[in-house]
Amino acid sequence: MKTLLSLKAVVSLLVLSLAFVWLAGGCAAPSGSSANPKPGSGIAEYRQVVREAHRSVAATVKSLEALAQPWTQTSTPHPALAGFDQALHQLELTSVRTRARAEAIIARGQSYFDEWKENLSANTNQANARAETERYTRLFEHYGRVRERSGKVREEFRPFMATLREFRARFGHPPKPAEGESSGKEIDGLITSGRRVLQSLESVSTALDEAEAELRATLAAKGSKEGLR
């Protein structure tokens, strides 16, 4: 009986930790057939993706701010142009890596939670089932929040990147009269748009922090309950 209980506890903990593998970027099995993931490791990995994206967007915004400084010598390119080109190129590469990873992680998330939900119905002990359902609901809400905010980042980032490319294609050509002013407005618009992307990324980080705190609290409560048995 004792063995059965501890087995149940292990399975339950495993399912709980798997619920957070949607953030792990692909190194664990929902059925527990491969190496068991460390709870919360997925959050850390997703946070790294968010940080990398934030760093790259912040560098681009900074280079845009430098480009916004007036430059009257039309015979030579703006001194901040080389820095902007470098930041934009880096952003292209970072965006491929981070967006692909984030999309894949989010896409996997739902199936992990689906599997957890299926496991819930298999629980015959009413008290356990209720507690497990509450945990599921709480953690799924966090997952939903991260997914929703990541979607917002995607919505903000795509037009930002597209406008950046278009802007760069226009910038640096011999300016016609009054073009300097419109290009200044365009840079301001890009800076605003870039800052919005940064804010969206920060809100994903906040959602990840909250999810991690919830997971830690859940695991701690679960651990202390198992210890009492």
């Binding site: 970027g25 692909g26 190194c27 664990a28 099995a29 929902p30 491969s34 080109d85 190129h89 292209e92 590469l93 965006s95 491929v96 890596r97 967006r99 692909a100 990873r101 999309e103 894949a104 992680i105 896409a107 996997r108 990147m161 597209a162 490319r165 278009e166 760069r168 294609a169 226009r170 640096g172 050509h173």
Partner: protein, 196 residues
Amino acid sequence: MKPELRSAKPPLHQAIAPALRRTRRTLLAAVVLSLLAITPGARTQYLGPPQAPALVGPTLGASLRNAAAATQAQAGMVRKGANDWGRRASSGAYNAAQFQQDFATAQFQFRMLHEQFNGLGSLALQLNRPNANNAVAELDAGLNIIGELFTFLQNQFNAGTLDHQTIVRTCRALEDAMREWERELKKNSSRIGLVF
């Protein structure tokens, strides 16, 4: 009106353009004829449009290795093609017709890569391993994102705002993005048990 590349240099003289086009058509016909007449032994020298490789092996693992090797080779071809394209585009004489030809070739090679990768992906999904599924989803998303560069170039060309520098920069972005993608493919392939 047909879009042209924005350039400081004057466009090709209109009088010689039809003659050049005729010459190009004759050359193209000659190339096609020579390819038809080529001996099987010499076919290995031809680096034209890739053919879908025979992916099926005696086991799922062997098929996966074949598909992964073919995808890796095709990805290398796209990357190298982007490098060559960028170098050609940096020449002042590079014109709209050359761009269209290079664009069509690069897009074709890229589509072939995506198709080859889809083949690899469907084989990898048969493994029914979550790490393989994740790798496939991530690499597929990566290709879709890289594909945005083609849309950008196409839009710029259609709007008549494309210039040499933009092509060169975009080719460099394509080349570097492909290099990263290849690295991820290699990393993920070893993760799901394939060896190059």
